[in-house]
């Protein structure tokens, strides 16, 4: 393996068991800075679990996770976040009773160094407010600035989820099925948006929609049964026999085109 510091994110023989079942069985992956990686795999393969391990939601049973060359496995989510890794959730996970603006501001506070302070007014934190406004524009929710997150439509909530995720300015972003539940057109717009807001960042995203996968990713990681069985460019992965069998099935071409 090459010098680990040249990877934004690296997994080394990562394992995770729940009770007796081993769900992640020795996953290895090394992502370079600035790469956009799509993680695909059958349902239940362990993609979300992998994200959970990386982001500190679960603690690995064994193995290592390195962020910019530093070990982060076993750390708490907030510690990992502070080191520059941020994630979104498969099931929308925002602050329902806060407004859009407040949601975004919550996402940026720590990274701007405001921490637990109660001696400054939020209104005076120009940098945080500017950043939140900027994010709001990016995810196109300016018109919903003061609307509570619960009252947003599903797609808007998903957008907000992304906004909160990228708000902290982390260099490595994990998105878990960001377009789940969206229509084709929304998905398309959304992919553009993701591309836009993650310029210059390392991105890992879980997707089932092959259209999205091929449109968005520089590289594809295929997770099957708790292992990364392939990690390569889209073309090569598509051609990979094992991937074909395990995941894509016979209608890949249809799945891509037919849905429109």
């Amino acid at each position: 393996m090459s010098d680990s510091s040249s990877f934004a994110l690296e997994l080394r023989d990562l394992r995770k068991s729940f009770g007796k079942t081993e769900i992640i069985r020795g996953a290895n992956l090394a992502v370079r800075p600035g790469e956009r990686v799509a993680v695909i795999g059958p349902n239940g393969a362990g993609k979300s679990t992998l994200f959970n391990l990386i982001s500190g939601r679960f603690e690995p049973t064994s193995g290592e996770v390195l962020l910019n060359g530093k070990r982060i496995d076993g750390k708490k989510p907030f510690e990992i976040n502070r080191l520059g890794l941020s994630r979104s959730f498969q099931i929308t996970n925002i602050f329902p009773k806060l407004s859009v603006f407040e949601n975004l501001r919550c996402g940026v506070l720590w990274s701007l160094g405001y921490r637990y302070t109660f001696l400054k007014f939020l209104a005076d934190l120009d940098d945080a407010n500017d950043r939140a406004e900027e994010l709001m524009k990016m995810i196109r929710l300016e018109r919903k600035r003061d609307v509570l997150a619960v009252n947003l439509t599903y797609a808007e909530q998903r957008a907000l989820e992304i906004g909160v995720t990228i708000g902290g300015g982390a260099g490595v972003i994990l998105l878990d099925e960001p377009t789940a539940g969206m229509s084709k057109s929304e998905t398309r717009r959304f992919i553009e948006l993701i591309k836009e807001v993650t310029v210059g960042k390392t991105l890992l995203t879980v997707e089932h929609d092959m259209g999205v996968v091929f449109g968005l990713a520089d590289k594809i990681a295929v997770v099957v049964y708790g292992e990364v069985i392939a990690f390569d460019s889209p073309e090569k992965v598509r051609a990979n026999q094992r991937v074909q069998e395990a995941y894509l099935g016979s209608h890949v071409a249809d799945a891509q085109v037919g849905a429109h």
């Binding site: 982001s55 500190g56 708490k76 989510p77 907030f78 976040n81 502070r82 941020s86 994630r87 959730f89 996970n93 925002i94 602050f95 329902p96 009773k97 806060l98 407004s99 603006f101 407040e102 501001r105 919550c106 996402g107 506070l109 720590w110 990274s111 405001y114 921490r115 637990y116 302070t117 109660f118 001696l119 400054k120 007014f121 939020l122 209104a123 934190l125 945080a128 407010n129 939140a132 406004e133 018109r143 003061d146 509570l148 619960v150 909160v164 995720t165 708000g167 902290g168």
Partner: protein, 445 residues
């Protein structure tokens, strides 16, 4: 009444009212509100001059601080505490011990004793909060219950500190007397309390506008996500818990000055329960809700129980109905009407409100008449069947009185139902209008 849940209320506690690009008129509004608050605090004792009303006003100030501090936990942090009285109570105890030391020559001005109480509350929160805030939700609630019970039980076991059954008493007229202010007369103490109330309210309001205050809301809403934006939820809860305890302690210190005696009831479970009930009744989802709750708490405990022996029954019924029909507390009712007012439609509702109020009053009169008769029969059998209810003579053994009351109540119910239907219709129509209007404005924006 078709009162929608608190969620549909227009301006939640957390809304960015003090937001970033704030437009002017709102700030003026804020000035007006705060000035009004100050004026009310100032004028109240000039209007209500009896010694009971002055001590009640003082207690309201004290209750306002403690209920607001409780709401930092409940409303803003989603922490259901069953042991908040521990912190206000320990504040009281340390304050009164300090006051006694002042009596023996400790050079602290009496006016700063509440701060000592605050620091004491904080100290205990640093200790106990370390364990309670490890958890959220039900485990948190249950740990606070356990800690509360432990402290309460200890308060009787350690007479050395808690003063046993008689508690610790003291005299607030001690130490230097700047400008001749002795704090002997209730009115002087009232103004001290009023100043503290105003300042603490302002500080607690300011807290909601700080990064920590906002993260506390976030922790309430979705602790898991908070961890993924870089914050340690436990720490957010812990710090907020300590700050809340500080204010609770201040209120405890003021209470010590006000009553000049502190007994173990101040750390009791029922006391904590009262904070919870009345904070909720006032409205936990809005910053000012607990203020209403605090005022009601003092009124209920001091006045209502003077007026009627059935006060606990009335209180229970009020809770039942409030929780069922206005789970956002009184504050949410206020806010809903303010929203209607903001769209210029409140005027239409006046008549309905008057009618609703009048008919509800009729129902209440009838029902209360019967309740009072029952209580009278049960509690004062020796005084004969006659009683006076709001000046009207009733005979608890007389068919007339019963029939009269029942008649009044039933008529009331009938009329109320009629007006209610009308109101529901009207209200729905207005809400529809508002929704449309909001959409329209959104579209314009």
């Amino acid at each position: 009444m078709p009162v929608p849940g608190a969620t549909s209320a227009p301006i939640p506690a957390s809304a960015p009212a003090a937001g970033y690009y704030e437009f002017k008129p709102f700030n003026i509004g804020r000035w007006i509100v705060w000035s009004l608050f100050a004026v009310v605090l100032f004028v109240a004792p000039l209007l209500f001059t009896s010694s009971l009303s002055q001590t009640m006003l003082s207690q309201m100030g004290i209750a306002i601080i403690v209920c607001l501090s409780y709401n930092m936990l409940l409303g803003q942090g989603g922490m259901l505490s069953f042991g908040h009285a521990v912190y206000s109570g320990m504040g009281s105890f340390l304050a009164i011990h300090t006051l006694n030391m002042v009596g023996k020559g400790l050079p602290i001005p009496v006016s700063l004793i509440p701060i000592v109480g605050g620091l004491a509350g904080m100290l205990f929160a640093v200790l106990f909060g370390w364990v309670t805030t490890k958890k959220a939700a039900t485990p948190f609630a249950m740990i606070t219950l356990g800690v509360g019970e432990l402290v309460w039980a200890s308060s009787l076991m350690f007479p050395e500190f808690f003063g046993g059954e008689g508690g610790i008493s003291s005299n607030r007229v001690t130490g230097p007397k700047p400008l001749g202010i002795t704090f002997g007369p209730q009115i002087q103490l009232y103004y001290l309390i009023a100043v503290y109330t105003f300042v603490c309210t302002a500080l607690m309001f300011a807290f909601t506008r700080t990064p920590l205050g906002r993260m506390l809301n976030a922790v309430r809403d979705n602790p898991e996500r908070v961890e993924f934006v870089g914050y340690d939820t436990r720490k957010v809860r812990y710090i907020a818990f300590i700050i809340a305890a500080f204010f609770a302690g201040i209120s405890g210190g003021l209470a010590a000055l006000n009553f000049e005696i502190v007994t173990s009831e101040v750390v009791s479970g029922p006391r904590s329960g009262a904070y919870l009930l009345f904070t909720f009744l006032g409205g936990a989802t809005f910053f000012f809700g607990p203020i209403i709750g605090a005022v009601l708490m003092v009124l209920a405990f001091v006045l209502l129980s003077e007026l009627t022996k059935a006060w606990l029954l009335y209180l229970g019924l009020v809770f039942l109905f409030m929780v069922m029909y206005a789970p956002g507390g009184i504050a949410s009712l206020v806010m809903m009407n303010l929203r209607v007012a903001a769209f210029g439609r409140l005027r239409e509702l006046w008549v309905s409100y008057l009618a609703l109020g009048a008919t509800a009053l009729i129902v209440l009169l009838g029902a209360a008449g019967m309740i009072e008769m029952v209580y009278h029969l049960k509690l004062n059998p020796a005084l004969g069947p006659e009683l006076k209810f709001l000046g009207a003579p009733l005979n608890a053994h007389g068919v007339n009185s019963w029939f009269g009351c029942a008649f009044v109540m039933l008529t009331g119910i009938g009329l109320f139902e009629l007006t209610r239907r009308h109101f529901v219709h009207q209200w729905g129509e207005i809400q529809e209008y508002i929704e449309k209007e909001v959409k329209r404005r959104e579209a314009l924006a």
